[in-house]
């Protein structure tokens, strides 16, 4: 008799612990938010990826359509090769433009896709040809100073 109430309490403890874990996984973590169930892989070359990381989101018109799966340096062209897996529900033309963008002023970096006008769609393993690298603050400042110096003195 004693043991059954004890079992009940321990069972409640384990259930509460499991519930906390599931809540952490689903509500707090990214397990419940987006999983690429049916995905196809495309890749693109960037001359500079800035602070882009694997698992970064890929968005088109602000909607998350995929995740960055792998980032490597291609030593033949000395450019960063970014492999992306995109949801099968979304198809993009072959001349889609891939930008590395930043959400907010200090936010994380993601890849924004701007669809082109081509009739043919990107297939698994194909490459996005048109890319724009991440904005690097030092480059921007350098360009600004260069253009200031080039202005005629008043």
């Amino acid at each position: 008799m004693e043991r059954t109430t004890l079992d009940l309490w321990v069972g409640m403890f384990v259930v509460a612990g499991m519930a906390a874990l599931v809540m952490l996984a689903m509500k707090v973590g990214n397990l419940g938010t987006y999983n690429v169930s049916e995905a196809y892989q495309v890749h693109a070359y960037f001359s500079n990826i800035g602070g882009l990381k694997a698992q970064a989101s890929i968005r088109s018109a602000g909607v998350v359509v995929g995740r960055v799966t792998e980032i490597t340096l291609d030593t033949e062209r000395y450019e960063a090769k970014v492999v992306m897996s995109l949801d099968n529900r979304y198809q993009f033309p072959t001349d889609t433009f891939a930008n590395i963008l930043t959400s907010g002023l200090l936010g994380e970096q993601y890849i924004g896709l701007m669809p082109g006008g081509d009739e043919a769609m990107l297939k698994n393993g194909e490459q996005m040809k048109q890319t724009q690298s991440a904005m690097v603050l030092e480059d921007l400042i350098g360009k600004f100073m260069y253009s200031k110096a080039a202005e005629p003195a008043k």
């Binding site: 043991r3 004890l6 079992d7 309490w9 321990v10 409640m12 403890f13 384990v14 509460a16 612990g17 499991m18 519930a19 906390a20 874990l21 809540m23 952490l24 996984a25 509500k27 707090v28 973590g29 990214n30 397990l31 419940g32 938010t33 698992q55 989101s57 907010g104 200090l106 994380e108």
Partner: protein, 262 residues
């Protein structure tokens, strides 16, 4: 000859410490070896799970709620300066899941359950219950130590997960309900930033390690205590001090391994 005396003292301390580590390691392996029988008699573990896990629930939940509320307040004050109050959820969730949850839950566990374990076993030894068991050919490590060990190892991740979950709720209460941070960005930025494998699983691994270490220290100190009233009180103090220090040091090592440059 004061110099030789000092040298002798240092040498004895070092040899004692190494000896101690060796005994603890042997104790740990003996516990693992004799664990088989306590899994066949699972009600022993259930009984210990009640006294270590269930009885620690209240302190864990109340402490988690207040730690989360403090994180919400402090995080809001700091993030407001940079105009990024919407990242409050990320801050609260990451600090709880990665660090505060496992560490604070383990510290509370050490002082709530670890000290009780040490005192209980120390008193069993002082009243010669352990010798009586040995006389009856009952292995005290299999009968007393192993069930408590596994109960501690099992309950620690659950307690840490509950601490984090309740703490995030506390941060939500202060940040969203009281101060008025946007609810949507609180949860969505949190979900975008917290990774299940990187953050939550690593937190669980941390709490498993802490559970093992705290329970092992508590059981060993109890088993090793001199069988006097003074000895038991000293062992209880040592349990809390040693396991708190061990938690904090191990946390640094584990964090350095898990989150370096990720």
């Amino acid at each position: 000859m004061p110099v030789t005396n000092i040298l002798r003292t240092i040498g004895r301390r070092v040899v004692d410490a190494v000896w101690h580590i060796g005994v603890v390691t042997r104790f740990f392996f003996l516990t693992l070896i004799y664990s088989g029988s306590c899994f066949r008699r699972f009600h022993l573990i259930i009984k210990e799970l009640f006294s270590t896990g269930v009885m620690s629930l209240i302190i864990i939940i109340v402490a988690g709620l207040f730690v989360g509320m403090v994180l919400g307040l402090q995080g809001y004050e700091t993030l407001k300066r940079y105009g990024s109050e919407s990242a409050l959820g990320v801050m609260v969730a990451l600090s709880l899941v990665r660090e505060m949850g496992p560490v604070v839950a383990a510290l509370l566990f050490a002082s709530r359950a670890g000290s009780a374990m040490t005192a209980e076993i120390g008193l069993m030894k002082a009243t010669e219950q352990i010798s009586a068991m040995e006389m009856m050919a009952v292995n005290p490590i299999a009968r007393i130590v192993a069930p408590r060990f596994w109960a501690g190892v099992i309950s620690m991740p659950f307690l840490a997960a509950m601490f984090s979950a309740v703490g995030i709720f506390g941060g939500y209460l202060v940040g969203v309900v009281q101060i008025g941070v946007d609810e949507g960005s609180f949860w969505s930025q949190m979900q975008a930033a917290v990774d299940f494998r990187e953050d939550i699983m690593n937190g669980i691994i941390k709490s498993l390690v802490f559970g093992t270490v705290v329970t092992l220290i508590a059981l060993f100190e109890g088993f090793d205590a001199p069988p006097t009233a003074e000895g038991v009180s000293g062992a209880t103090t040592r349990t809390v001090v040693t396991s708190s220090l061990a938690i904090l040091m191990l946390d640094f090592v584990l964090t350095a391994i898990m989150f370096r440059g990720a």
